[in-house]
């Protein structure tokens, strides 16, 4: 397998900076990491970043297109090379890909970014208290969906090459890599260790099994729990803005000196007017309906459409919620109340 030392990896990023805007992990407080433009120094993130990778493919507020005879157009920027995505993040891109790339209409901006961007993921070497990926059968180390994946071993990384694009980059930068056959077992041991630790940690929480989540949501339409939990919600939208699989957005039209343009702003089903129609009807007028809607969308809609739950177990919604609404607890309590 290919190996790259920490030092050479930094040199690789320096070289990539010519063609890419390189984002690397930055230590931001005692337990959190976030993306930051590559500088000489960066810290390797042991678990997922605080913000989701969604921002690299559809920005929270951005110009999409100028229309009619408008000269306004999207500013072309260099593609991103994003270092430090984790397995859960790569899973979330399957959901985003389905939304923006499947069907009769393809979102060109998203497609362009997905094709041009370089994803350098890495194994988790630790986890946060809110992480529950394994409960959803997502392993804490990437197996697909990356260009390069890094496994931290022996003052460097074992590198898995996951795409033609990555292969080309490797070929152009062979001087930075070396062949190491002796490290595979070390990687294996590290991976086993993190699985074991995470398993033990999750077992103590007695979470609802993955295969029961769909039925649980299907059978809990009338549960009082939605109302009880929603009473705590302050409608800040943090769960939406931090969720890697949330994708809803608004189109927003503007005019500047006679030129028309249309932008995209992230929206979400926890906001009061999300489903409201011009005539005034609002099928999601109650907070309880909106909270329930979030779970139906993630665990029923996507399951029925593409056989996947739109949840990665990253726990960002738990971390972000001011009211301490906890998806793990919601499932446990629903399960208890329905005696499943």
């Amino acid at each position: 397998m290919q190996f790259i030392s920490y030092y050479n990896f930094r040199r690789l990023l320096e070289r990539l900076s010519k063609d890419f805007l390189v984002y690397t992990p930055q230590f931001i407080n005692e337990k959190d990491y976030d993306y930051s433009l590559f500088k000489e120094e960066f810290t390797f993130n042991p678990y997922r970043m605080i913000s989701s990778p969604r921002q690299f493919f559809t920005a929270s507020s951005s110009l999409i297109v100028g229309y009619f005879d408008s000269k306004i157009s999207r500013r072309e920027i260099k593609p991103f090379a994003i270092v430090g995505l984790k397995s859960c993040d790569l899973y979330s891109l399957k959901i985003q890909d389905y939304v923006f790339l499947e069907g009769d209409f393809i979102d060109e901006e998203y497609k362009k970014k997905r094709e041009a961007n370089l994803i350098i993921s890495s194994d988790c070497t630790s986890f946060k208290e809110v992480c529950f990926c394994l409960n959803l059968e997502i392993k804490p180390y990437p197996q697909e969906g990356f260009d390069f994946n890094l496994s931290d071993v022996d003052r460097g990384f074992l590198v898995e090459i996951g795409s033609e694009k990555a292969k080309k980059i490797w070929e152009d930068n062979k001087d930075l890599f070396e062949e190491r056959e002796d490290l595979s077992e070390r990687r294996q041991a590290k991976r086993k260790k993190i699985i074991k630790e995470l398993e033990t940690f999750l077992k103590s929480q007695a979470l609802v099994e993955k295969e029961n989540l769909y039925e649980l949501i299907k059978r809990s339409r009338e549960s009082e729990l939605w109302r009880e939990e929603a009473l705590k919600c302050v409608e800040c939208g943090a769960c939406i803005m931090n969720c890697p699989t949330c994708h809803c957005f608004l189109l927003s039209d503007e005019e500047k000196e006679g030129e028309y343009f249309r932008g995209r702003i992230w929206d979400g089903c926890q906001y009061k007017n999300f489903a409201k129609v011009a005539g005034g009807a609002n099928p999601l007028k109650l907070r309880a309906q909106r909270l329930r809607n979030r779970y139906i969308k993630k665990f029923e809609f996507f399951k029925e459409r593409i056989e996947l739950y739109a949840c990665t177990g990253c726990g960002r919604c738990i971390e972000a919620c001011l009211a301490k609404i906890d998806i793990r607890e919601i499932f446990k309590n629903l399960s208890k109340s329905l005696r499943l």
Partner: protein
């Protein structure tokens, strides 16, 4: 400028404005590029620089060069469309979604039930059915408005009963002195229908409350869930199945509808809200 974007509208010119009622106008629009739709599909109409809203064209899909939308003034964007003048340029995306599966209606008896501005999409369907009227056994059109003043297409509605196999029934909730017809909500028109309800098709479009009670009435009359077609009203924003606003169960109304069989959606919570 990127005309390839699925979010970019093309230009349409307003060529005529018809005042239907105090709150409803029909805009006749001429797209600058090729445009055609099948009955029941919808479009997103842009007021430049301000925003867009979904409408199902009310004109005959076979008519080339121009199409019509009928707009009730209910919110910010529809109010802007009401201010539009002949010659103005608006934006158009579409056609979007799936319309009426007219080929499935061949050989059947058809009941059309409209409420208020809900007659707009149905008028386009009526044109389509009339253009091949020999394909259908019988057509009954029932339409209800709040007052005689609120009836849309007053200038042509009587023409709908011209073909011999068509029956037209009208009602208003509150009559004025000149009204000599039926008084009551639209479901009061659904008695003694000259149709075999076990086999007939029922097509309903109107405000949610009207669709709810019409559907219940049709079921009571013996219409099958498979034979009731509803135009669902949801907040269709992008119209492409991406923005997430119009989810209805496992469907997006914009992409999988807006026309659904009742059997497809009857088990979904809160469908009439």
């Amino acid at each position: 400028m990127n005309q390839q974007s699925i979010y970019a509208p093309q230009k349409v010119t307003v060529t005529k404005i018809i005042e239907e009622t105090p709150t409803i106008k029909t805009l006749v629009l001429r797209p600058q590029a090729d445009f055609s739709f099948s009955t029941g599909q919808f479009v997103e109409l842009t007021y430049p620089g301000k925003g867009e809203a979904p409408f199902t064209p009310s004109s005959d899909p076979a008519k080339k060069g121009e199409f019509e939308i009928t707009v009730m003034k209910v919110g910010r964007i529809t109010a802007l469309f009401h201010q539009a003048k002949v010659g103005d340029t608006l934006g158009l995306r579409g056609p979007l979604g799936r319309g009426y599966p007219v080929k499935d209606f061949v050989g059947r008896q058809i009941l059309i039930v409209g409420g208020g501005v809900g007659l707009a999409p149905l008028r386009s369907l009526i044109y389509t059915l009339f253009s091949r009227i020999n394909d259908f056994k019988k057509i009954v059109i029932c339409y209800g408005a709040r007052t005689p003043q609120d009836i849309v297409y007053k200038y042509q509605i009587q023409e709908f009963k011209k073909p011999t196999k068509v029956e037209l029934r009208l009602t208003v909730d509150s009559p004025d002195k000149s009204w000599k017809g039926n008084v009551g909500v639209v479901t009061t028109l659904l008695e003694k229908l000259p149709l075999n309800s076990q086999e007939a098709i029922g097509i309903v479009c109107g405000p949610p409350i009207m669709m709810k009670f019409t559907t219940l009435k049709l079921k009571e009359l013996g219409f099958g869930d498979e034979n009731i077609y509803l135009s669902m009203e949801k907040n269709m924003s992008c119209g492409l199945g991406k923005c997430g606003h119009c989810r209805l169960g496992k469907f997006y109304v914009c992409k999988d509808g807006p026309v659904f069989k009742y059997s497809q959606i009857k088990d979904i919570e809160d469908i009439w809200d």
